[in-house]
Structures are given as C-alpha cells and as structure tokens.
C-alpha cells in the first residue's frame, strides 16, 4: 500500500483509549468526566502539574540531608565558677555574716540557667546577689556576691581545707547540683572570716 498516509480516526472513532476501545456512552459518568476534561483541559493539566511538583518537593524535603543533632553537653561542662575575693558585707545582712564574690562564666553550648546556689554546712545559711534563677550568659563574666550567715558558731568548721560551693545548673539535657571547689585562697578567707565572727566558739584549732 502506498500514498495513502496514516489512517485518520473517522467519525465516531477515537484515538487509543486505556479504558476500553469503545467511545463513552453519552450520559454515563465517563462521558461526564470526559466532557469536563475537554472543557477545562488547561486547568486540569495545570492542576496535575502542580500536584506532581508538590509531591516531588515534599519527597525532597523529607529526604533532605538533616543537620546532626547538637551533642549532649551537660551544664557542669559548660560553666566555671572561680573565686574573686572578699567583699563588703551588705548592711542588710544579719549579724555574723561575711561576703565574698565569685565569677561565673559559661562556654557556648545548650543554654544554662543557674537555679540555686548553696553550701553544705548545717550551721551556715547563704544568700546571693543576683538571686537565682538567672541565665548563665555565654561570653559574660557574671559577678555573684555571696553572703554567708553563721547561725551556730559551735557547729561551723573553722579551718576546712576544701569547702564546697554547690551550684544547681540546668540546661535541656540535665539538671545538676555541681560542687565548685574554689581553692586555697577561698578556704583561707572563709576560715578567717568564721574565726573572726566566732572568736570564742570555734571547734578546731588554726592550721600551723
């Protein structure tokens, strides 16, 4: 056969149809859908393209390379407290009080809040300025003035070598009551202050 060209679909015939080889019956749901498609072909094609884009974009977003979770760093590893020295005791402090200052610094990491400052001797009460809770700001040297009030001279150590300052620290990974051992100068200043305040009632003898 030659010169005839491709066979054109004649009246009543259609191009290949995935559903069936025969045209839709007028009035059927298929016929209504087909008519709808014909009338709104552009909108349908645009909608289908948008759906494909959305689906593809959603897939890419869900499978994107995620930033690794930040390492678990507990607050005690981010905060450092060092002894600055004796301070004037506030006039509002009760009798038999002494004050000193410490410096609190924080390294970069999960944000830390100081929630409590305390010390372990039963015969001493402690207050501080600022009062917790307060955030431990990174790159900022917090000066904290601690005032200790001796409530019972006969029960307070007069010469302890390693008194603790207990600081409760919180970040998103842990709440820790961490002890800071502020060193010889702190220990000596505390001992001197206590001996000065409790001249007649100290339990232990001074160090040689």
């Amino acid at each position: 056969m030659s010169g005839v060209g491709p066979v054109e679909p004649g009246e009543g015939t259609r191009a290949r149809d995935t559903g069936s080889g025969s045209p839709p019956v007028p009035g059927s749901s298929r016929a209504r859908l087909a008519a709808l498609y014909t009338r709104h072909r552009r909108a349908v094609l645009a909608g289908a393209a948008a759906a494909v884009l959305l689906a593809g974009g959603g897939y890419l977003y869900a499978t994107r390379e995620q930033e690794p979770d930040p390492p678990r760093v507990v607050p005690s590893q981010l905060v450092r407290v060092t002894y600055l020295g004796a301070e004037h005791t506030p006039p509002s402090a009760p009798a038999r009080s002494f004050s000193f200052a410490v410096q609190l610094t924080a390294r970069p990491g999960p944000a830390v809040t100081v929630t409590r400052i305390s010390q372990p001797y039963a015969a001493v009460s402690l207050s501080s300025a600022p009062r917790p809770p307060f955030p431990a700001k990174v790159g900022f040297a917090h000066k904290i003035v601690i005032t200790m009030h001796v409530t019972n001279c006969s029960q307070v150590p007069g010469n302890a070598g390693l008194p603790f300052l207990d600081v409760t620290l919180r970040n998103k990974f842990a709440i820790q009551n961490h002890s800071f051992l502020l060193g010889d100068r702190y220990a000596q200043d505390v001992s001197e202050a206590v001996r000065g305040l409790c001249v007649n009632a100290i339990k232990s003898s001074p160090k040689p």
Partner: protein, 417 residues
Amino acid sequence: MPGKGLIVRQRSLIAITAALAAGALTLTACGSRDEGGSGGSDNGGGTTVVIGVDAPLTGDLTALGLGIKNSVDLAVKTANKDKYVDGVTFEIQALDDQGQPSSGQQNATKLVADEKVLGVVGPLNSSVAESMQKVFDDAKLVEVSPANTNPALTQGPDWQTKKERVYDSYFRTATTDAIQGPFAAQYVYNDAKKKKVFVIDDKKTYGAGLASTFTAEFKELGGEVAGTEHVNPDTKDFSAVVTKIKNSDADVVYYGGEYPVAGPLSKQIKKAGKDIPLVGGDGIYSADFIKLAGTEGTGDLATSVGAPVEDLPSAKEFVANYEAEGYKEAYEAYGGYSYDSAWAIIEAVKKVVEDNDGKLPDDARAKVTEAMQNVSFDGVTGKVSFDEFGDATNKQLTVYSVEGGQWKPVKSGTYTG
C-alpha cells in the same frame, strides 16, 4: 541499525575506559611498598617514634594496668590512621611493673636505653613513680602519668607548706590526693552524713597519703576518728581489723589503698555484722572491686578523678572507639586519662617536628619535654594542659556509689583554685 554518531561515541567510550584502567593499574603498582601502620622500623622514609607504657600488666592490679596499655594503643592507632604527625609513625612499647617500684625502675632504664622512645605513659602507682622519676629526668625523657595522685610527685616533699617542682620531665593528667582526700571527706561528712570514721590504709605512698588527707579534712569538719589500722596488701584475711571495726562506734570505714584489698575487706566487714559503707579513692574504683565485694559492696563509695563518662561527649566517643577496637579488657578508671597522656606526647612530638622543618632534631627528647609544658588540647577528659608543677589544670572529681552491681555517679565537683 545504530547511526554513525552512536558508533563514534561508543569507540570514544571504550578508549577513555581503557585509558582510565591503565592509569589506575599504574598507580596501584607505584603504591607504598610498606604499609608501616603501627609496626616496623622503616616506613618508606618516615620516622618511627615509640611511646613507652609502664603499668601493672600482670598481678593484682592488672585490670587497671591493661586499661592503661590499651588506651595508649588506641591513641597511637588513631594518630597513625590520621597521619597526625607528618612523616612520623608511632608505636608503643608496654612494660610490666607488676605494681612494684623495683620493676618500675628497671623498666625506666630499659625505656631510656631505647633511642626511639620519646615519651612514656605511666605508671599507675605513685610508689612506682617515685622510683622512676629521676631515671627519666636524667635522660630528659618526658613521663606523663594518667593515674598517680600523690601530691609530692609534682609539688615536692614539703608540698603542704612549700610547693616546689622537683622534676621538669614529669607530668600527670589526673588530679592529686591533696584534693581527692578532702573532696571525699566533705562528701562523707556533709552529704552522706557520716560522723565517725575508722581509717585503714595499706602503708603505701598512695594509700597512706590519701588516708591522711581524707582524715585531716574529716576532722576539720567536726568528724571523729573511731580507730585507725594498717593492713598488709598481700594478705586477704582481715579478721583482726574487722573485729576492731565491729567493736568500734564507727559509722563509716575509709580505706586508703586499692581494690584487691578493699573488695574482700568490705565483704568481711559486712559479713561480721557491721553494716556500714566502705569509702575509698580511685584505687578502688574498678569493676573488680564490685566482683570482690559481692552484694555486700552495695552502698560503698569511691571517689575518682574526672567527670563521669556520660557527661563528656568526648569521653563517649572514646568509649565507642575503644569498643570498636575490640580490646578484651575494659578501659577502667584511667582509660581516658591514658589516652590523653599519650595524645599529649603525640602533640608535643608534632610541635617539635613542625618547629624543625618537618623532622626530629638531635635533641628530640629534651625538645619534647619542653614542648609538653605548653601542650593544650581538648581531650577525652576535657581540656588537657599542665600548670607550672606539671599538674593537670583540669581538675574534676566524682563520687560513685555501688548500686545494682555497678558504680553510679552521685556527686561531681570541679576544682578551680
């Protein structure tokens, strides 16, 4: 049938593939003749540096000693894998001192005689260190201990009144009993609320020293000493001491010494009917203490150097790498400190090589010792650096309690004085 253009593309592809294959084969043939790794004395033009290890690899304290050795091995493997120091391959040479000063001294002499040794990690025992320090110092061979805690080793014999460094070649990554003893006393008196202690020690440098610093602080706090005794660490029958403890009004026992004695001692005290905790230092902080004490050890306490592993991301990485390496023995109390001690030597060697046009100078040992003073890096145990005495600047301590057959951290502290 494919078009002409397609045939041309196929031929080009074959040609390119053949060229690449030929090139890859050529490169493989020219690869290094000798893998080197952590063994061998000739690694194709590079230098071998040996890091010595001295620790009790056999005997009662083997659990701690092998943890030290394995951790140094891990550091050396890591440095070699990462080619951390250009042109240098590290090896370790581990010698057993069995916890004996005389063996330690012999090992020190042997390590000094090997020119390839540029640094030593160890020993475990303070008494052994006393016999080794001068031998190393005379040879200007740097020594970094991960575990010695007696203060005199860095601060001199009169450290309580006048600190004076005796050996410039001696450093340590662990903190000292000048802090550990009082730290324990403060916890026992204030937190555990024990007021009457029976103090026992093994008469050795570490144990007696630690018991002494503990007792001094405990008394300053208002605590009372209900009795004192010494034990011979070679015996395992403590019935005489146990009887004295039982007849005392002590509410706690403090033991200065190591776990081979502390474990059975704790067990015998409880079995005699005196249900009071035994407290010790880093020398008892071992899984073997718990095995030896049995269920009677529940509630016993130990202080140890460093923060708990779970608080340090760097320590967790060390733990994972240690496990991946497949060592049979646990890293124990000094694993992290041993890794950091070895890494400090590696850092010092790196500095010396970089300052000497990429090679080791003739006076390498002296230069490495000098460089150690300024070493500073973020290690497994936190920041690693040394003060003017050779002591670690990072001083952290933890109290652990035996709970459910394991050591659990109950209190941590940081010394910032």
